[in-house]
Symmetry: C2
Subunit: 432 residues, 2 copies
């Protein structure tokens, strides 16, 4: 059998795992692909760093992978938008299939790169871009393809899930973040994770495959962890909820809702039990009903598992001499629904003056916005001299909830709206 | 585009769901397949039963599907071993690809039918045979293909999981079973489910795809629900466990362990939270780590979702003119490990005389078999005049545990060994 010759761009944690697997599990991979997979060459920045890969297979020249006649498939593991995008484009332009774990490039440029691939008879795959080692893209695209998907809710950023798990145990955001950094889960500059940039990128990829909606990640509403207080997690638990950074998409009457933000999830919901750095995607199809996939969302070997799965898909096809698949037709493109129309239950925490009449004023604001009140918790004044009121509303449009927040903040008896957190998947009056 | 012409054998619940989808979601399916999917003909027993499918598309003659020139793909949904097996063989022999949901046929005759398919240039797919609407076969075979799988633990019989969920709430087996029958989860003769025959069939299919081991279902150790008492579930909960009918396979030093039996699972393990008629498969790969798939294991629409996924796979390939894939080479066939060598923790419930020295005798038996004692619960005598002792051991070989059970039953102070239940996935001394 003619071997499939592979070039890797980038030998970081994932790249090294992929390279090691190609060298160490040749038989397993060859049997699965129907042809030997050969690590032909890898591009690195520093040739002298000690590595398990023989020096003669290393190069610093990207073109020796993207433009070389002896490379059949390119594995891009450089990360970041550029030069990764340009490099993928260069490889596809030469008809080389590309496997990548690059969520940034795929979320921003996936559609145009897929078109380019199809035009050149090449294939672009990116199972590892979302959910690390969990099979997601292929199941959504192929195994659930007969369904109209109704809803997708995902925990797709392990760093923030780890931080929230720590905060649920009482840590502040700063302490939990420092611990995440110490463990290598979070970067020195953690904003991509903490501000939900990473999760929005991944949601854009999922939304395209689940709902056929192509949306630039910047158009997805996104709110990160900043400002969250462990007290909100504790209050939420009293109401029967766990706090998660949820990436959510839902088929609505006015298009596809897509947003990423902290959300309270009922404790009985399987997503509520996804703790630590784990990832999970929960989808509801009109035929299959609810299906959940969970596992390790990051890590060298877990991500390599997904990269290698893609490599095997491409290699199997090449070994059989089959042409690259055409671009999947998702049908009429739906619209992104406006956030203002999204209906959710909502949790408010207010710091209020410890005086009579507070309740009447607060409930009047909600009534004006036609927001039903489901539960109330009131705590006696603490050190700050102000009492706390925690409200849980019935489902209402985002626009009404945002107006209510503004008006509550302006009440003389309200010192501050300390938190407004959406609730997803409640069973009474909820949006689920 | 040339249409893919489909013949369905059997219009029961699943068959009707598949037929309805083919008629009602033509655009969605055609876009995904790259060619129109046409329901050409369906074989039924009774032509006069009212159905949504036009009468002229119905026939009672199987050959009008399996031997007809105007059928490209055959969907077998008759269930049971015969005539289903013969019919699948007939279709494959004529080079027609077959999609089936038939776990019995696939578990007993999968390998020979796959060989026949490959010889005839046809394809045999059976995603719906295990786990209903949950994508399992394709993810195991393709998306986790780079892994050496280490362990697979599954809840793959919704009926028994429903019964155990009821028993956890205090129902006896008989009451829970009657309720399952009333809801249509269990058959009038429930032995296939209750005696774990169905789960063993499905495990045989999973074991082949996860570990490359071809094992006839009858060689898989299987123990069903008979004899289980809700009290054992209650005691187990005190130790921190939930009781599940677990289908389990594990790579051991002497081959692949494969068995189906009730097992205590730590409450914190994700499988412990799979309740009601749900299914879940939890696998551990050497690269991907733990991954879990969960969802609806049965039901017309959920199973149709998997059947249609297979139909789309076959149709996509035919639309591109690609040949059928060759039989996957799983490499050197491993052995089925002997049950006697399987190591598990174990739960015993003994009815004992309420007299001094019981404990010394019981612990001596365990010590003789080199079985460590992890926990003990003793209850005062109840109505039966005998006291109960509940033991939880450390991990020990099955052979030693079985000997201990026999010897305990023979002690004069022991009236009966009321229960012996294996514990899977404990974190101290466990086999996990």
């Amino acid at each position: 059998m003619k071997p499939i010759r592979i070039g890797i761009l980038g030998l970081g944690t994932v790249g090294q795992s992929v390279a090691r697997a190609l060298l160490e599990r040749r038989d397993l991979l060859a049997r699965s692909a129907g042809a030997p997979l050969v690590l032909q060459r890898a591009v690195v920045r520093d040739l002298d760093k000690p590595r398990a890969i023989p020096r003669e297979q290393l190069t610093t020249e990207i073109a020796r992978v993207t433009e070389a006649d002896d490379i059949d498939v390119v594995v891009e593991l450089m990360g970041g938008l550029e030069p990764a995008r340009t490099v993928i484009e260069a490889a596809l332009s030469r008809g080389k299939s590309v496997v990548t774990a690059n969520k940034r490039v795929v979320s921003w440029h996936g559609p145009s790169l897929l078109s380019l691939a199809a035009k050149k008879g090449a294939e672009l795959r990116y199972e590892a871009a979302v959910g690390g080692g969990i099979p997601l893209i292929a199941p959504l695209l192929d195994d659930l393809a007969a369904n109209r998907l109704l809803e997708l809710r995902a925990i797709i950023n392990g760093t923030t899930n780890y931080i929230l798990t720590r905060m649920a145990a009482g840590d502040t955001l700063d302490v939990a973040l420092a611990e995440a950094q110490r463990l290598g889960y979070a970067e020195a500059d953690p904003s991509d994770d903490v501000d939900a940039v990473d999760a929005a990128d991944k949601l854009a990829i999922l939304v395209r495959h689940a709902f056929g909606l192509t949306v630039p990640p910047r158009e997805i509403f996104r709110q990160g962890l900043r400002g969250l207080d462990p007290r909100d997690i504790a209050y939420g638990r009293e109401f029967g909820y766990a706090l998660k950074l949820l990436a959510l998409a839902r088929r609505g009457t006015n298009g596809i809702e897509a947003r990423v933000h902290p959300a309270f999830v009922p404790i009985a919901h399987p997503l509520a039990r996804i703790d630590g750095a784990q990832n999970a995607v929960h989808v509801v199809g009109d035929l299959c009903g609810p299906v959940m996939f969970s596992g390790q969302g990051a890590g060298g070997d877990a991500t390599a598992s997904a990269v290698l799965a893609d490599l095997l898909h491409v290699s199997r096809r090449m070994a059989l001499g089959d042409p690259a698949p055409t671009v999947r037709d998702f049908g009429p493109e739906p619209k992104l629904a406006p956030l203002a129309e999204a209906r959710t239950r909502c949790y408010f925490r207010l710091a209020v003056e410890d005086q009579p009449g507070v309740f009447a004023q607060v409930t009047q604001v909600l009534a004006q916005q036609s927001i039903g009140l489901a539960s109330v918790l009131q705590r006696e004044p603490g050190k700050m001299g102000s009492a706390e009121v925690v409200l849980l509303t019935y489902a209402a449009p985002e626009a009404a909830l945002a107006s209510a927040e503004e008006q509550l903040a302006r009440l003389s008896c309200v010192r501050a709206v300390r938190a407004r957190i959406r609730v997803e998947g409640g069973d009474s009056g909820g949006a689920a």
